[in-house]
Symmetry: C2
Subunit: 194 residues, 2 copies
DNA sequence: TTAAGATGAGTGAATACTCATTCATTTAAA
DNA sequence: TTTAAATGAATGAGTATTCACTCATCTTAA
């Protein structure tokens, strides 16, 4: 009956929130600044989210979902070996760092914040996918049974993200994230797991 | 002439600040709450620090100094092989996680915050120590020249801290940090670097 | 017309930080 | 040994500002 919701406004809010949380931390990213950056009224986001916390939690959830959905796609593809899966996953993370570094940084910031928890359901999904990868690897004799789910997560997700952020922060004076670095990360993961 | 400064008060402020930053993030840790937890007047900390930011930065600096000083001790000890150095360093981090998890968590939180930067001087120290370890390893033929400073940092500092925080957060339902886990972490680092 | 999208001034609470004041301790004169 | 002046450690009420959030109001497309 009346005009329809302008979805670009919500998208702007989500992008602004992400950017400001990365830049200033959760506590430092204020609602009014988020709204200002999104070119939207101060109170507008409360039509969609009950609170600032809910908005940011939803952002984290969506981003992880995007990542885990992709993981699932790779692992479920029976044509791919475990080595292939690792390569695909690492490539995905590196591409994200290059093309939408905001997202990698946001993940990085919130996953290390003791205020925010990965949703238990998502945690379980991640665990199950790591187990699936492990079992696949044992079947194809790529993985020794000594490797557990935690190690798989650590070296295919955690470690690449850690590396990417060293580069994004220019920690050791290097910031390049190219094919050379992708190959290196894949090698390291493979060396450990396979 | 007057009473002397009660150093336990300052220490209490530092401990409270650390705890609250871990629990609520930098923005969420308010001065009044820090003071309350330290059983000290609201404005007291301003006799020693110009601002909240200065206090927290000093906390990060001290903690890193403690760590880097130890790294230096290990690497400078000519009796130790690179494998020994890795073992010592990993053990140090794991002990810290067991006995003063607040410190590991604080490091974890602030090193992943885009507001806080490791002091350039400390960054350089870390880089130089990694280089020293690399050169030592090449001399003793423990390390291939393909391994660079960044990889050393990643697998002897970053990765163990990452693992410890998975456990401290109980991410995969496991929280034990014992000898078994230490051995595993040392193994993984060695496997990559040596 | 009208229903719903969108606004932004307004709310009380909380924020980081200041400073006039109080209090405990030390020193030294009586 | 006693006492009071001198000192600076420590306090906490007070500052302006900003915070997350609400809601009466306006705008616009159906």
């Amino acid at each position: 009956m009346a005009r329809s919701i302008d979805k670009t406004k919500i998208e702007n809010i989500r992008n602004s929130a992400m950017e400001l949380v990365v830049e200033k931390g959760y506590g430092g990213a204020s609602i009014s600044e988020i709204a200002k950056k999104a070119a939207v009224a101060d109170g507008y986001l409360y039509r969609f989210y009950k609170s600032k916390s809910e908005l940011v939690n939803d952002l984290l959830y969506s981003l992880l979902k995007e990542l885990v959905d992709n993981m699932e796609l790779f692992i479920s593809d029976t044509k791919l070996s475990v080595k292939d899966v690792i390569e695909k996953l690492v490539r995905l993370l590196f591409e994200m760092a290059n093309q939408q570094s905001r997202k990698i940084k946001f993940l990085f910031v919130l996953m290390h914040d003791y205020n925010f928890e990965v949703h238990p359901e998502q945690r379980k999904r991640i665990f199950d996918l790591c187990r699936k990868a492990k079992n696949k690897g044992i079947k194809t004799k790529e993985i020794s049974s000594a490797v557990d789910e935690e190690a798989i997560y650590l070296f295919t997700v955690s470690m690449p993200i850690q590396f990417l952020n060293l580069r994004l922060k220019n920690f050791f004076g290097k910031s390049s994230i190219g094919e050379k670095e992708i190959k290196m990360a894949i090698n390291l993961s493979s060396k450990i797991l396979l």
